[in-house]
């Protein structure tokens, strides 16, 4: 970067450019606020507690995945398979719990084992991605493009193209994990907040987090600095896999079923949330809070469109695309 001394000097002084840069960092938050104001003007019901809790609960699925994705993208990688993986985990988890019911009954034990299996499958998938990418030296785009197809095909096979449904008794016991509340807040929102908090701590306050950022900004230099690049990279994929497992644990009690269209395009939502949040797609730097705002922003657009009737239903995807581009535009000063 030949211009880095200049930009460093610029950030130490208060120049119009540096003000813009700081405003740009707040881009996603400002975007969300603007959207919320527009939404409230269009339909006052937007600000009701029940609607906001719907929105945040929806954001929890892709949001939790996006927190893991932030690490992968900062380290210079990408994972396209998360939506398919979520579907496969959901299906496998349901089949495992249905099978366990015959020996363990529909109790907490069965559900706990199901959850454990979800996390284990996610971690294993992440381990596979990380190992193939680093030791096998295949582009992450290619590896996860491959597994994107594999996971969804295996789920479709398991479901014979139809649906895998959770046993009704287990479903009753399990449903509070999605529908339940703690201190009046839906559980998925609490888990999302905890994951985001933990993710932020790991990224900004631990040696591992700094390694991830170092590898993303310059892998060669990181290698010379004696950072275990392979290990750190594999760990980012495992972390993401666990996040997918966690998101699926919250998702399964929602509908109690997995179909071939489960988790469809979640990978794009997760990646979009990360990028809207201000993480560079080429890696090196990023923010967890930005990712959280990005995930909420994406869900809010859909919610607003459902709450109003102004725009033709054919144009919903266009509005989403426009907002993504606008938010990215307002933070371009950071690059």
């Amino acid at each position: 970067m030949p211009d880095s001394p200049v930009s460093e000097a610029a950030t130490t002084r208060v120049t119009p450019r540096s003000v813009l840069t700081r405003l740009g960092a707040l881009g996603p938050l400002l975007g969300l606020l603007a959207l919320a104001i527009v939404a409230t003007l269009l339909n006052p019901d937007f600000l009701t507690v029940s609607n906001l809790s719907n929105v945040l609960t929806r954001a929890a699925f892709t949001g939790i995945i996006a927190v893991g994705m932030t690490f992968v993208i900062i380290s210079g990688g990408i994972d396209l398979s998360v939506g398919s993986l979520a579907a496969l985990i959901a299906g496998s988890m349901i089949l495992i719990m249905n099978t366990l019911k015959t020996s363990l009954g529909a109790g907490v034990g069965t559900i706990a084992l199901g959850m454990l299996a979800a996390l284990a499958i996610g971690a294993l998938a992440g381990l596979f991605h990380g190992t193939t990418i680093t030791r096998g030296r295949i582009e992450p785009f290619i590896v996860t493009l491959g597994t994107l197809g594999i996971y969804r095909a295996v789920l479709t096979y398991l479901a014979q193209g139809g649906a895998i449904s959770l046993d009704l008794d287990i479903g009753d016991r399990y449903s509070p994990v999605y529908y339940g509340r703690l201190l009046g807040i839906p559980i998925p929102i609490l888990v999302f907040a905890a994951v985001a908090l933990l993710g932020g701590l790991i990224l900004n306050r631990t040696r591992y987090g700094r390694y991830v950022q170092a590898i993303g900004s310059n892998e060669q230099v990181a290698r010379y600095a004696a950072i275990n690049v392979t290990g750190v990279k594999i760990a980012t994929y495992v972390l993401l896999g666990v996040c997918v497992g966690l998101a699926t644990i919250l998702y399964v009690p929602q509908l109690g079923s997995a179909t071939p269209s489960t988790g469809l395009l979640w990978e794009l939502d997760a990646i979009a949330a990360v990028i809207i949040g201000g993480t560079a797609l080429r890696g090196g730097s990023g923010r967890i809070w930005g990712t959280v705002v990005g995930a909420v922003l994406l869900v809010t657009i859909g919610n607003v469109l459902n709450l109003t009737n102004i725009i033709s239903v054919y144009l919903n995807a266009a509005v989403t695309g426009l907002v993504i581009i606008l938010v990215a535009f307002f933070q371009r000063g950071r690059r």
Binding site: N51, G161, S257
Partner: protein, 317 residues
């Protein structure tokens, strides 16, 4: 010598005509979309069931079932069926109408009898016969039920649409036309749920936020009805009297059989239509009787009284 020659010629001619008399082998190719959601899963299931049944009934018939994930794969497949497998007839449920019209026409030009199922081609000349469900009736039958059930009191109705397609437009237009006969029925809004459980859940949640009083929901599809029911359950709303899905998912037919108050009826758009198309095609090939140019499988109202005959517990859909 001359007599022998004449005899072989005669028998060859006889064999030629026997092609349609069922004494020689008939190869039937079946090309369908791969199972990517409930309804197509039902198509694959019923196609394989029909293959087994028809091959058992007609020993000279061989049926090859192929599934394709998109139009281009399907185009390649039917080409292979014609050139490699030398099929005599093709039963095809096209992924998309326009891109497959040309490939199907090519196969027909080679002398293969073509039966098109459900999604019509852009040029009907590319087919010999057409077997389809009735999308207009699918919407109309549901709409008529709303008119009759809500009666003179009327009520507020919300609609979930599928994916933006001609099929969805036909269904929704027919539903709207039917409920328009009762001015007391108000359709509050119709948004896309993409024939998907999760999307339907979200759209219904937002309808529930937006509209304080909803009397009934036309989910227009059983997969979407699953999401709709969950959203209502979560919001603990008691104003909604009933939800009508459609297409005949076994869980939903079961609810109708059991007299579930929220799911009083269903409207068929049966994936078993592929089996009907295969049976009609094979029968016409074997007996030599011509097949009707157009066969419409009616969409009927499933009630507690007749639900039993639409219940396939072993189907994945």
């Amino acid at each position: 010598m001359q007599a022998i020659k004449r005899f072989t010629l005669l028998s060859a001619l006889l064999a030629g005509t026997a092609l349609s008399q069922g004494t020689t082998k008939q190869v039937i190719g079946v090309s369908i979309p791969s199972a990517d959601h409930g309804w197509t899963a039902g198509i694959v299931y019923h196609a394989n069931q029909a293959k087994a049944a028809l091959e058992k009934k007609y020993p000279n018939v061989q049926i090859i079932v192929k599934t394709a994930k998109d139009s281009s794969e399907q185009a390649n497949q039917i080409q292979d069926l014609a050139t490699v497998n030398k099929i005599n007839a093709l039963v095809i449920l096209p992924q998309e109408s326009a891109p497959l019209t040309r490939p199907v026409a090519n196969v027909k030009a080679k002398g293969v009898f073509v039966t098109v199922v459900d999604r019509g081609l852009t040029d009907p000349k590319a087919q010999d016969a057409y077997v389809a469900g009735d999308n207009t009736a699918f919407g109309r039958v549901a709409g008529n039920y709303f008119v009759q059930r809500l009666g003179t009191a009327g009520g507020n109705v919300v609609v979930l649409r599928g994916i933006p397609t001609v099929i969805d437009n036909q269904r929704v237009a027919a539903f709207n036309a039917a409920v328009a006969k009762n001015p007391k029925i108000k359709v509050l809004d119709a948004k896309y749920g993409n024939w998907n459980r999760d999307d339907a859940f979200k759209v219904m949640q937002d309808y529930l936020t937006r509209f304080p009083k909803i009397d009934a929901v036309w989910a227009s599809d059983d997969d979407m009805a699953v999401g709709v029911l969950r959203a209502i359950q979560q919001a603990r709303r008691t104003d909604i009297k009933f939800v009508v899905g459609g297409a005949g998912m076994k869980e939903m037919i079961k609810k109708v059989m059991d007299g579930d108050a929220m799911m009083p009826v269903n409207v068929t758009y049966p994936p078993s239509m592929i089996a009907d198309a295969m049976r009609l095609t094979v029968e016409s090939r074997v007996t030599g009787k011509p097949m009707k140019a157009t066969t419409i499988i009616p969409s009927v109202l499933v009630t507690k009284a007749n639900a039993q005959q639409f219940y396939f517990p072993n189907s994945p859909f």
